[in-house]
Amino acid sequence: MELINYILKILTFPGAFLKAFLEQLACRMYEVPIEFGRYFQKNELCGHVEHLLAPKKGSFGICFLPHIIMLFCGLVFTIPAALNLVYLGKINYFGIIFLYVGISCLLNLFPLIEDSLNMWEHLYGKESKATAISKICLFIPTVIMRAGSYLEHYFVTVLTTAAFVWSVPYLFTLFIK
């Protein structure tokens, strides 16, 4: 599993680097101590930075901030490439590069399972001190990130990303007359 994860991170290194950078940035923003700042390690932490579990203040932020930026980057790169490559069959260097970078971003979208569980505990655990408004407003993104962390851990996001790339042009056609 670790070997497959490592190989996948190598293959999607643009997304892995960006994700790890954003995680490190989020850790600094929320003052979460980082134990080891190397982005590529031959273990399950490959593509992430090794840090202590975040306290209440940063538990949601260090999961959500990298996730939302990676999602934005993934969509920005994938959509134009998919429209041209998949729907029009137009092959050029830009399209291929953007598709590759976009897919690598989408395959490095979610936090580690430990971080997502930590976030969940701080928000909805027995000893949670989160307000009701926070719990309601953050429920959907929290569930998405928690589910996504498992999907990414077991490489299911490879399939979901492929399906997204294939279907996004046809989704766009629904909004064009």
Binding site: F21, R28, P33, I34, Y87, L88, G89, K90, F98
Partner: protein, 484 residues
Amino acid sequence: MAVAKEHTPDNELEKLIESLPGEEIPIDVNPDGDDKIPLDPETGLDPEQLESELNDLKDLVQGEIDKMLEKNPDAEWTDIVKEAKEDKKNRKNKGNVKLCEVCGENEVAEDEQYCEHCLDVMKHYPFSWWKYLIPILAVVLIFLALSYFAINFSVFKGTVSANKLIKAHKLDSALSAYDKLNAEIKVTDENFGGKYLRYQVDLYEELGIDHYDDALKFIEKYFEGSKIDRSYNKDVKAFRDKIKSYEKLYEKFNTAYNGAASYDDFVKEFDSLVSVADYDTAHILYYKYYAANVMGEDISVMRKNVEEIKKVSPESKTLYLPLLAEISLNEGKYDDMVKYADELAQVNKESPYVALYKSIAYRFKGDLVKAAKACNDGLAVTPANSLLNYQMGIISLLQGKQKEAFSFASTAYEQADTANAYVSAASLYSLCAQLLGETEVNESIIMETSQYGYPISDQVQKIIDGDLTIEDVFLKGKGDFAWN
């Protein structure tokens, strides 16, 4: 030992030595001046070795004492001894103290790993210089991706719109949309996507034989050279070969038709010239239908050929449905004409034959309103179509709108693209001109048609003379199709 005696009383030294770790070494009890230690006959110890070890120990102790004195030069000897004992005690206990995992110096609680100082450093873990390139590259790529999207979106949008027109069975509008897009792409980057071109080839296939010339030009332009031989373009190549074989078949048809005295002779000669393996069967049957039509064969022969086309090539609706409608018109089965026109509309709503056959059927059924509506629907798509303008001219004439009829007849005459359409339009145009007193126009029509060797129908003059009414010609019997 002499050194030890310089600094401490004997009992203090003994106590110090007792407190040091390791074996107890017996103190030299020999009288002064006697440096040699006798070899103990019981233990067998070498006196020289023993002396050497004792000297080493002496140096060690002296070194430790010197260190302590350096630390605290004014300390009393008792304080130094106390401190030495404390150090010894601490060395024994030191294995149970937890130290920071990073610095290894500061003590931390049992349940912690890092000291405060190290935690503070870890909270501000620095970025290596090269990591700053990551966000910079990301921003640059985002900018490029958004530009790429903006540049190419119009082509994508246009293609989606054109494909939606195809799904709505508006094939002519889809073709116009693609023509515009092709011109736009030619100006921007000339990169025509493979699937984009395939959509158009599929469109031409659906449009049928009426667009074979345009289809061939399109394929030769965008699939030039070895591109058409690539495995993923094999369908395009097959379609191109089909069009070319259709054109070759026309030459065979001409050869067989020119030498044939009857339809049966034609069929015999035609079958000897073509083989089913080299040519599309539907095309072969189509030419047989055409020969039967021009040679005046019975309707049943024509119907047989067309039904055979439907059987061998059910997907070629744009080929056999207009022929079936034509046969139904000859048989006077106007409801069937409408039925076939509606079936054709499910393939291409904008085909002129849909409006044409509906208009004729409703006209002969006496429903001029529906006939006019059907014709206008067709003219909305192809306003310059000669046949539709001709039909609308007839309907206007029947409705008493002579000026409108004149206008439609004029367009039909100018846009006529076949001999039959030209002759019919010329006759109608001449009739309308005479009814409106446009003598000069009428004279120019007669002169032009004479030059081409096509006389105006004699029924025009009969209408003008009052021997026939407009209704007699256009509503009864075979209608305007008999006036050539």
